[in-house]
């Protein structure tokens, strides 16, 4: 794409410490840009002859910004060679910065920003999901954008319960996804540039009904996607992959519904968990395997400090287990799978799914990735809404007693 990009890749593969050493030993001058889907802005580090001279992460600058970027354990980076005119604001030696950064990370003084992997990250996620938490998508692929539309502050883009099959990508601006209930609207998630509005179910079935309402926060520019082209691509996929996508979509829908249920307090975790056998235990990935439910019911449950939280239920045809190419933030790292008495499961080959995933068009891949990110974040919101529910439960009891 950009010709001046000299080096780019994934932070999962090459950590910031390694990149700084690499740029250091090659004595490069330029800008290192870091992109993390869980952070609202990209991070920048400026290098002169291999030494970092300044950095920026959101509002913070200089050395503090550079240290904070060590917490970006996932995401992507790109280094562009260009002349740096900025002042030298960082004077610490390269290796000193790296070792100090790693130490701060290990000491827990730097916040890790990435998909939730274990339950002890719950505290981090809470902070992350403050008002500013916005799920951003990958760079927009304009190939599939057929039209642009503008929406003004507070305008409804789609409304829950109405029919519609358009899919939009947010070109600029922020959109709130909410569920309408009798008592008003329950916020589900806030999404930003590169995220998608409308689910894959749009081209799965005719006459798709919207599952939630999307409201513009400030002025928003949307790109209408070529749904015919996407539907064609979808039609050309293997049955296995389509089932996989449908299953993903079902999970997303359930997670959204769950927020509403926990909000109403209309769910009893302990009853649901009765007489179930554990199929995969949270944070103990003994084997990386993908399964499909053949019969019976499986439940995805996250263990939190405040007790187990049911995220969703899986039925015949749904998959569970380790998906090597997507970060769902659920099992195996972030959730346990329970099976009903009569459950039957079969192993599936993740390799063929992965190959098919890799062949997807950029836009389709973006939709799937964005959905995975949203699922990971929504799962955390589910847990949070239960926890905040518990905190206010005492108050409620009193009020109900009156």
């Amino acid at each position: 794409m950009n010709e001046s990009v000299a080096l780019s890749g994934s932070l999962n593969f090459l950590s910031l410490g390694d990149i700084i050493q690499l740029l250091g030993s090659s004595g490069s001058t330029g800008v290192l840009r870091l992109i993390n889907r869980y952070a609202p802005d990209p991070g920048f580090i400026y290098f002169i002859e291999g030494n970092p001279v300044n950095a920026q992460n959101g509002d913070i600058e200089e050395l503090d910004a550079l240290y904070s970027l060590f917490g970006w354990v996932s995401g992507s980076f790109e280094f562009t060679r260009e002349a740096i005119l900025a002042d030298k604001r960082i004077n610490k030696s390269r290796m000193g910065i790296i070792l100090e950064g790693m130490k701060l990370l290990d000491d827990g003084q730097i916040k890790k920003v990435g998909p939730a992997t274990t339950s002890d990250k719950a505290a981090d996620m809470k902070r992350l999901l403050s008002k500013t938490a916005i799920v951003k998508g990958p760079l927009v692929d304009y190939m599939y954008v057929v039209d642009e539309e503008d929406f003004f502050d507070n305008e409804h883009i789609v409304e829950e319960g109405k029919h519609g099959s358009w899919i939009w990508v947010i070109l600029e601006g922020v959109v709130d996804i909410v569920k309408e209930v009798d008592s008003g609207a329950i916020p589900i998630i806030r999404i930003g540039d590169g995220s998608f509005i409308g689910s894959m179910a749009s081209f799965l079935l005719q006459g798709h009904i919207r599952k939630a309402t999307a409201v513009a926060v400030g002025n928003v520019q949307l790109g209408v996607l070529d749904s015919q082209r996407l539907a064609q691509e979808y039609a050309g996929m293997s049955l296995e992959f389509r089932t996989f996508l449908t299953s993903l979509d079902k999970r997303m829908k359930q997670l959204t519904d769950r927020i509403v249920e926990y909000h109403d307090g209309s769910i009893q975790t302990t009853e649901i968990l009765k007489d179930k056998k554990v199929l995969i235990r949270q944070a103990k990935p003994e084997e990386e395997q993908l399964y499909v439910v053949k019969q019976g019911r499986a439940s995805v449950v996250r263990n939190t400090e405040n007790g187990p939280v049911v995220l969703c239920h899986l039925y015949k045809g749904d998959f569970f287990g380790d998906v090597p190419f997507l970060h769902l933030g659920q099992e195996p790292e972030g959730a346990t799978i329970y099976g009903s008495e009569n459950i039957k499961i079969a192993k599936i080959e993740a390799v063929s799914l992965q190959m098919e995933y890799n062949r997807l068009s950029t836009t389709f891949k973006n939709i799937v990735d964005n959905m995975a990110t949203c699922m990971s974040v929504t799962a955390d919101i589910v847990c949070r809404s239960l926890n905040s529910k518990k905190e206010t439960a005492a108050d409620l009891d009193v009020r109900q007693g009156l």
Partner: protein, 204 residues
């Protein structure tokens, strides 16, 4: 995995001091830094990690020759022993070319030495290296404490404890006084360069 810097015609390799907490890794490196000042390039980086300090500096060995006309630059590191410093350990141990295992001669630390060595083995394994193949040197540190009447293990016993299977070169030392520090480092560099030479011949 040494790094070839073609611009500077240098081969950069990494030597790591490993060992149980308070065994004298840091003292070893501080002594090297002080006594071989001329061969040290740049400053010493010192990070306070819980229970230990993590040190780093660049070192230019003299009199060990060149490889294929390239100068050799050695990065010397200590690694924090605490379990929680996994990111630091990973960064330091990745691509390590040579290791000095500093063992504590105090009788009461016998078990600590063995645990740490075992730990080194499993850490190396995680990064795809075998403790039997990586250039490794042992230093039995704190020999000077015998003069003060503190019970120490004999060299023979330490060799039996730690070096029976590995059979790597070992040196007695006293990092506080500087005895054996140079010999240990030199021993490790020789082993490291030998191993690099082997690699290049194999690659030819």
């Amino acid at each position: 995995m040494a790094i070839f810097n073609l611009k500077k015609r240098e081969i950069e390799c990494k030597v790591v001091y490993y060992g149980p907490g308070r065994c004298g890794k840091t003292t070893n490196l501080e002594y090297v830094f002080k006594s071989y000042k001329k061969q040290v390039t740049g400053e010493m980086v010192s990070i306070n990690t819980e229970g230990d300090r993590t040190l780093f500096f660049d070192f230019l060995p003299i009199g060990l020759g060149k490889i294929k006309g390239c100068d050799i630059r050695v990065q010397l590191y200590t690694v924090p022993g605490q379990v929680k410093y996994s990111s630091t350990r990973k960064l330091v141990l990745r691509g390590v070319d040579g290791i000095v295992f500093v063992a504590d001669s105090l009788e009461v630390r016998r078990e600590k030495n063995m645990i740490s060595l075992k730990d080194l083995q499993s850490n190396l394994k995680e990064y795809g290296k075998s403790i039997f193949k990586v250039p490794l040197i042992m230093q039995y540190n704190k020999r000077d404490l015998a003069d003060e009447g503190i019970p120490l293990m004999s060299i023979e016993q330490m060799d039996r404890d730690l070096n029976r299977q590995l059979k790597v070169p070992s040196f007695p030392g006293s990092a506080v006084k500087g005895t054996g520090v140079g010999a240990t480092l030199k021993g490790c560099l020789i082993e490291t360069l030998k191993s690099l030479q082997r690699e290049f011949k194999w690659a030819k």
